[in-house]
Subunit: 343 residues, 2 copies
Amino acid sequence: MQPRAHVTLEDVARAADVSLATASRALNGMRVTPHLRDRVLAAAAQLAYTPNAHARALAGASHRTVGVICHDVTDPYFAAVAGGVMRVAGANDLLVMLASTFRDPEREIAYVSMLRAERAPAILLIGSGFEDTRWERAMEAELKPYLDGGGRVAVVSRHRSLKVDSVLPENRAGAAAMARALLELGHRRFAVLSGPRALTTVIDRLGGFRDELAAAGVTLDPADVVEGPFTRDGGYQAMTDLLTRGLDATCVFAVTDVMAIGAYAALRDHGLSVPGDVSVAGFDDIPIVRDLTPPLTTVALPLREIGEKVMELALTENTTRRRRILRLSGEVVLRASTAKVGA
Amino acid sequence: MQPRAHVTLEDVARAADVSLATASRALNGMRVTPHLRDRVLAAAAQLAYTPNAHARALAGASHRTVGVICHDVTDPYFAAVAGGVMRVAGANDLLVMLASTFRDPEREIAYVSMLRAERAPAILLIGSGFEDTRWERAMEAELKPYLDGGGRVAVVSRHRSLKVDSVLPENRAGAAAMARALLELGHRRFAVLSGPRALTTVIDRLGGFRDELAAAGVTLDPADVVEGPFTRDGGYQAMTDLLTRGLDATCVFAVTDVMAIGAYAALRDHGLSVPGDVSVAGFDDIPIVRDLTPPLTTVALPLREIGEKVMELALTENTTRRRRILRLSGEVVLRASTAKVGA
DNA sequence: CCCGCTCCTGAATGCGTTTTCAGTAAGCGC
DNA sequence: GCGCTTACTGAAAACGCATTCAGGAGCGGG
């Protein structure tokens, strides 16, 4: 009763009593006598035939499975971006091979290699890269032959480290705008919850924030910048460190919403209220932050659009002479987590 | 300067001056004279050779890309489960083809078909199915030839609709336990924020909750059960409906944490406090709910483990005579969103 | 010193499609 | 009715790799 492991085109051709070539053409909508086409289609349906994508890819038909590599599928930031990626993929009948590195650079490179083996026509890298470390070199070495082989690569937030088409949130400008907004609320003493300093995203957000403060004559003491991983617990830990050491600031800027969520928890555990005792601001505007109490002031990035754009970048030919860079700006959204000083 | 589109095994063999067969064996770690093996490996490295996964799959080597279909990549519930799936996939050198149906049953079936074409050795379906509708019939029809062809299917929360290996949260028992916990707090008048009633998950959670109340002599008026999509906005809308129509209950049970988040927002917008004016309970224990204000009382499911188990199910041969069902129980976690009545 | 066995190697085959190429039947104009 | 073009069809090659099969070299035992 066990049917053949797989129904092949040959089975369909035989059932329809035509040649392989004709069956193939009928199934692919090329010109075939209606009479024969119907017979082939009927046979295919009857046998529940599904073309073998591998054979098809081998034989030269373009294949429709792109690769996406992210740091952590679990992260709300990525989830939001992935939403955009998936919508565009779905609209183009593409399948997405998704890999989560869980922030292990070694795995990231291994995944590129696997995606290369799959002959994915495009690879998307989502999440910020390291600035100038051996990992980025290795990544470039891995990507080079892929690009040479006609593969397309598009990235989010890795403009510095990788010279490929990219979607780039205006991290620097966004952080600067946030600095201005906070200064306007009267804040003068700041603390920053920073992510790993080697990440380009951190460099830009931190730099933009600090420079804007400096322009207003406010200096950010390096001791008030605490570093932690880009996670909720990273934010919790960083905020706790700050509190233990004696927090002097009236306002805390977390370079990431997810870290801000951790900061909220740490502050609550220390009996401090937001924004009563200290104002908190984040960056990204992941969906959940508007449902926090208080809703988080943040730099709103068009997360879903970022995903859509990076996928579109990977899907369209680059006709320009240079790599394409799409800069998407963020917008400061003031919510209840930040208050006027003295108010 | 444009290198060959792709370096093939033949190129490597030629460069190493050995036969194709030897090159293949050397690369796959089969017995080959060390001298030759080194030459092949060196040539491969030098040419940046990457085996073509399609050719490999065609030639009969098992291929390592499994398929996962979910309702919405954007949903925190799925993100948490996906975390587990991805960990196990990573540990087994598997690539995951991920498809998000965005709750369109038609797309779900289309994706199964695509995954079938990709000859994925396993397909995972994550998220609850419909009870007994034409979609599930169509799904079964699509899955049948796949299973017959040796494909493996494992699902989460679809035990009724699909007769395949499954991981099954104890929805009914969990909801019953929650009912008991809430009764114990003194609540007698309840409202429920329900998802689409055709979903097995809803049937079980709602049923478990209602039956347990009934057992305690408390009846749940159908008018107090409001239905909405399994989303934050669905919860917001359902809660708002309830409030507009005049909320009589002291406690609201949302069949999903995500819906509870919407309920929080609706309550806040109506100037009601949780749990002062009304207690709220959820289901799932997605990570964010412990950072809500107040932290949400919920039925904690081992989300990541669910993902790990379903992947393991799909990866291991079913040696038993019947389909395997892994029941994972949830545990009521009382947090600050529920209060004693009259306290 | 020869036979037989073991261990490797290389040539050839097959996997399921697409696509080229050649061939055949039909259709058209004269 | 004949020659030419057009429109399909079928046979066969190619895609890149794993693997089977047969042959050859090396080795030990008799």
